[in-house]
């Protein structure tokens, strides 16, 4: 049962969830207009500093970023080949900054606060009778909650196969992953039902 949230009482934890998500959305959009590797490096370092302020260790940040390294290498390599070194550097720095910024928000914002923001954002649509904001927020929260758990499940299945001397392949991993995910969804639905 993994989770990105790091409990704490830093100023980043105490900042309102709506403000953090708003800054993340606006900052991410603004980054698309920045085409200077120097400025992008400064932005990336600022986000790294905020991860440090949030109380995250280097190891914790690395654990979250590790799955992204291959993607960055492949995209960076393709970008060097097609557009040149500077553009590739720009793209990698932008992507890294975006992911790190999202990670900092996830590490410092409890899921229930994020769900409250969703309820607030959907308020007008609920007023019009188009959506049930609480249900959408719960679905959003559970999705966020289950993303890290998929990684843990993947690791468990992989270890179980390696322990039996099998070489994990997409097919042998995919089928048990699908079945486990469906079973987990049933378990969570049952847990929610049980609470009335």
């Amino acid at each position: 049962m993994g989770s990105l949230y790091l409990p704490g009482h830093t100023w980043l934890h105490l900042a309102p969830a709506g403000l953090k998500l708003g800054i993340l959305a606006l900052g991410s959009a603004a980054l698309m207009w920045v085409h200077s590797p120097g400025l992008l490096l400064v932005a990336c370092m600022l986000v790294c500093l905020s991860a440090h302020w949030a109380g995250a260790s280097l190891r914790h940040v690395w654990q979250q970023l590790r799955p992204l390294v291959w993607l960055l290498l492949v995209l960076g390599g393709l970008s060097v080949w097609s557009q040149g070194v500077l553009q590739a550097l720009e793209m990698v720095l932008r992507l890294l900054t975006l992911v790190l910024a999202a990670l900092v928000v996830s590490m410092t914002t409890p899921l229930t606060q994020m769900m409250q923001v969703v309820v607030w954002l959907l308020g007008p649509f609920q007023w019009l009778g188009w959506v049930n904001a609480d249900k959408v927020a719960l679905a959003f929260g559970l999705t966020l909650r289950l993303i890290p758990e998929l990684g843990v499940q993947w690791q468990d299945i992989r270890e179980a196969q390696l322990a039996r001397g099998l070489v994990p392949s997409p097919l042998t991993m995919g089928v048990p992953m699908l079945l486990r995910t469906l079973r987990r969804a049933d378990e969570i639905a049952e847990a929610i039902d049980a609470r009335g």
Binding site: M1, S3, L111, I188, E190, A191
Partner: protein, 225 residues
């Protein structure tokens, strides 16, 4: 508390798992034992409306689990065998407060009730912790606190001591003894069953024995070992 089973048949995945159950439960502590796959967990799930009978009727204090499922679930707290199945949110206090959302609209009061439930079990210090950093025993206590916070009138435990070491198991037994609510406990823990007022033995989907703990345990050892 009055739980009534009237000619209940239960089917799961096209297999009959409980057959012709008719009984009334009103004791303060009721134990349920039986071999693996005998239908014990299905029996417990019927009381909370998590499972509905194929035919027959289950009533909790006069409420039919098929007709008044929401009211029944608010009355009956269910503690799952595996706390990971029960804990939905990643931080302890978030999870407990989530269960209170339908019962308590004020966020501060929800937080106070969640903290009080944790304190009651001696795990108030876990409130801010991420669930994935807790031990199996701590998770079990958090799952119990999440149910107790909702102040149910009846408690159903599905194999509550399976993941606990001896110290935590004894602590659970003490907590159980101190709970004011009537409780039904499904377990393989025979020592725990001795503390019950009435013990049901379920075997191959049928109520095989129903009586006092000593007699029920003797019957269980003689017929199911």
């Amino acid at each position: 508390m009055l739980i009534e089973f009237k000619n209940v048949f239960v089917e799961r995945e096209r297999r009959l798992v409980l057959t012709d159950l008719s009984l009334t439960l009103s004791e303060r502590r009721i134990g349920v034992i039986g071999p693996n796959g005998s239908g014990k967990s299905s029996f417990a799930r019927l009381i909370n409306g998590l499972l509905l009978p194929k035919t027959g009727q289950v009533c909790v204090d006069g409420l039919d689990t098929a007709q008044d499922v929401t009211a029944v679930r608010r009355k009956v707290g269910f503690v799952f065998q595996n706390p990971d199945n029960q804990i939905v949110f990643p931080v302890v206090h978030e999870d407990i407060e989530f269960g209170l959302k339908q019962r308590e609209s004020d966020a501060k009061r929800r937080a106070m009730r969640a903290q009080a439930a944790l304190e009651r079990l001696g795990v108030g210090h876990l409130s801010e912790r991420s669930v994935h950093t807790l031990s199996g025993g701590e998770r079990q206590l958090v799952a119990l606190a999440a149910v107790l916070a909702t102040e149910p009138e009846i408690l159903v435990f599905d194999e509550p001591t399976t993941q606990l070491d001896l110290r935590l198991r004894n602590r659970f037994e003490q907590h159980l003894a101190g709970l004011p609510q009537p409780a039904l406990v499904v377990s393989h823990d025979l020592a725990l069953m001795r503390q019950m007022n009435r013990v049901l033995v379920i075997d191959q989907g049928r109520l095989a024995f129903d009586g006092a703990p000593a007699a029920a345990l003797d019957w269980y050892r003689a017929h199911c070992s």
